[in-house]
């Protein structure tokens, strides 16, 4: 056994078994139950859109890498592009046309990730940038939620119909439905108190599908391609925590803040402000808290920073949902907090051993 005269790599000579690839695919695994449920719930069009989005993310990643002259295979298989595509797809309206997925991929990968230098260099969450850009650009398409059409059920579209929906852009009549958040928001804009519209939501006959309470809990309701089932998302999130991929700091603070803000204001004025539980269990709150706000690259690195980040996301989500024009605020809140992440990072560095917060050596204390 002989080694080169100079050993080129300094220690340590032990590593844990974790890798980027493993991390990413663990997240994919954790997302799978919720995804499968929703693909079932929304049928073939959603399956097509899901496939197109992930495929387009991989393709755009490959093209960017080729243009940049970087190694292709290793980066392509690190799972980050798949995950970005997956999460992007999960936030799209399930029956959106194919080009939404492709355009989203172009915004997410080349623009929001590769222009910054690839994995780990981007400042904003690529999936959320894509989602927000699409929402802002195509508000009509991006808010066309549909009622559940479970696979194999009577009113589920056939494969041919589904091809027409996803690839021909032919949205059949009478399938769209409002999400609870959207419903409350539009009703509020015409002066219907929140409490009333909340009860109305379950009864409104002009909607093609209205979920009851049980449906709301299990996720049998209109919503984006991956967000409807809080229970399954929670399951995935807990699995990620167990595998130590994520810690409690972000999810708990996001949901906690959302709940607290909702509850306080609801107590103050229940006609204007929706209750805390409603905020937590509707829309992308769970998906965002467990899978999106936790994106390593765009959230603070220290635990203290993550707590601040989580509170910020929760607060802004509530503010945007409650006061701003868009019904759903999670994506914006994540992007806004992404933008202050570098500053949070700077001011939440841990205290150095043996130094004060300011970096001065500690005063000498002698043991008693």
């Amino acid at each position: 056994m002989s080694q080169a005269a100079t050993a080129t790599i300094s220690g340590p000579f032990a590593h844990n078994t974790n890798t980027v690839q493993r991390t990413m695919f663990t997240v994919v695994l954790a997302l799978s139950p919720a995804t499968l449920f929703n693909l079932y719930l929304f049928g073939w069009p959603s399956i097509f859109l899901f496939a197109v989005t992930i495929g387009a993310c991989l393709a755009t990643e490959a093209i960017s890498l080729l243009l940049a002259g970087r190694p292709l295979w290793r980066t392509l298989t690190d799972g980050s592009a798949i995950l970005t595509g997956w999460l992007l797809a999960m936030t799209l309206p399930p029956w959106a046309p194919w080009w939404i997925g492709v355009l989203g991929a172009v915004i997410a990968i080349p623009l929001s990730k590769q222009a910054f230098g690839g994995l780990g260099q981007n400042l904003f969450n690529p999936a959320m940038v894509a989602r927000v850009a699409l929402l802002v650009s195509f508000p009509v398409v991006m808010t066309a939620w549909i009622a559940p059409h479970p696979l194999f059920s009577d009113h589920s579209p056939s494969v041919q119909q589904s091809v027409a929906i996803t690839f021909g852009g032919e949205m059949p009549d009478g399938v769209t439905a409002a999400t609870a958040l959207g419903y409350v928001k539009t009703e509020l804009s015409r002066g219907v108190p929140v409490a009333e519209s909340l009860t109305e939501y379950g009864r409104d006959t002009t909607l093609t599908y209205t979920p009851d309470l049980m449906d709301l809990a299990t996720g049998y309701k209109p919503g984006s391609l991956g967000e409807t089932s809080a229970v399954l998302i929670l399951l995935g999130g807990l699995y990620l925590m167990r595998r130590r991929i994520i810690t409690w700091h972000i999810p708990v603070t996001v949901l906690g803040t959302l709940f607290v803000m909702g509850t306080i204001f609801n107590l103050v004025d229940s006609s204007r402000f929706a209750p805390g539980l409603f905020h937590v269990f509707s829309g992308a709150a769970f998906l965002g808290a467990f899978f999106i706000a936790t994106d390593y690259v765009t959230s603070p690195v220290s635990e203290k920073g993550q707590i601040i980040f989580g509170i910020g996301v929760g607060l802004l989500t509530w503010v945007i949902r409650t006061f701003a024009g868009y019904p759903e605020g999670m994506a914006f809140a994540v992007l806004l907090m992404n933008s202050v992440t570098p500053i949070i990072d700077q001011y939440t560095r841990p205290r150095l051993f043996g130094r004060t917060r300011k970096g001065e050596p500690l005063p000498i204390k002698v043991s008693p």
């Binding site: 508000p139 009509v140 808010t143 539009t186 804009s189 015409r190 002009t206 024009g325």
Partner: protein, 218 residues
């Protein structure tokens, strides 16, 4: 013949001051001179353009009023024939009147409603019977491609109100279809039409409430 500016005492003095660059006042004087110069320049320009600009402004206003009050129904200049009333909120509201042979044949005034992104202002023309002569968006901040279809440039939607009045359709039908009314909303944008309809309706109600004053001949 040569003429040396420096021969003028003031200029010579000034040049000397400049050379020494001393005294705070020199800077004041320089800036003052520039201000004086440009002040005169601008004042003269204003003088020269004043009437012309006023004419243009009048034409503009006539033209825009012309869109909500057809030229055929009046022989006066509505821009100059104005009246000020208090609106529902107690604010002053400027009213333009169109007359034919001294009789008020129509009035026009601003109405506003709240849209998706804030206040939208419209000019509403109403004839003596309380029927809409015309509506135009004066200013709004609605989203291009969605809410801006209330502009005539982007669509005919706003033209459908001509000839309508309270009662035609009935008051409870002054709503978008989604809310059980008569009027179409835009796909994906209900708030803008809702606000617009509200604005027109309340404008007509204002007319009804103040009809006597509005049509009064003075």
């Amino acid at each position: 013949m040569t003429f040396d500016v420096k021969a003028i005492p003031l200029v010579a003095n000034f040049n000397q001051m400049m050379a020494q660059r001393e005294g705070a006042m020199v800077h004041g004087i320089i800036l003052g001179i520039f201000c004086l110069g440009f002040g005169i320049f601008l004042a003269l320009t204003e003088l020269a353009t004043h009437n012309s600009i006023a004419d243009r402004a009048m034409e503009d206003r006539q033209n825009s009023l012309g869109q909500v009050i057809p030229k055929t129904i009046h022989d006066n200049n509505p821009v100059l024939d104005t009246l000020t009333l208090k609106d529902d909120e107690g604010e002053d509201l400027l009213i333009y009147r169109a007359r034919q042979n001294g009789q008020v044949t129509g009035v026009a005034y601003e109405v506003h409603g709240s849209g998706y992104a804030g206040r939208m202002k419209f000019m509403l023309g109403v004839d003596a019977e309380g029927k809409v002569l015309g509506v135009r968006a004066l200013s709004h901040k609605e989203t291009p491609g969605l809410g801006d279809k209330i502009e005539t440039k982007k669509g005919d939607w706003i033209l459908q109100f001509v000839g309508l009045s309270i009662g035609n359709p009935p008051l409870e039908k002054w709503k978008v279809k989604k809310d059980g009314g008569k009027f179409d909303q835009f796909t994906g944008a209900t708030i803008t039409p809702r606000g617009t309809i509200n604005a027109i309706r309340s404008g007509l109600e204002f007319f009804a409430a103040n009809r006597a004053q509005l049509l009064e001949v003075k």
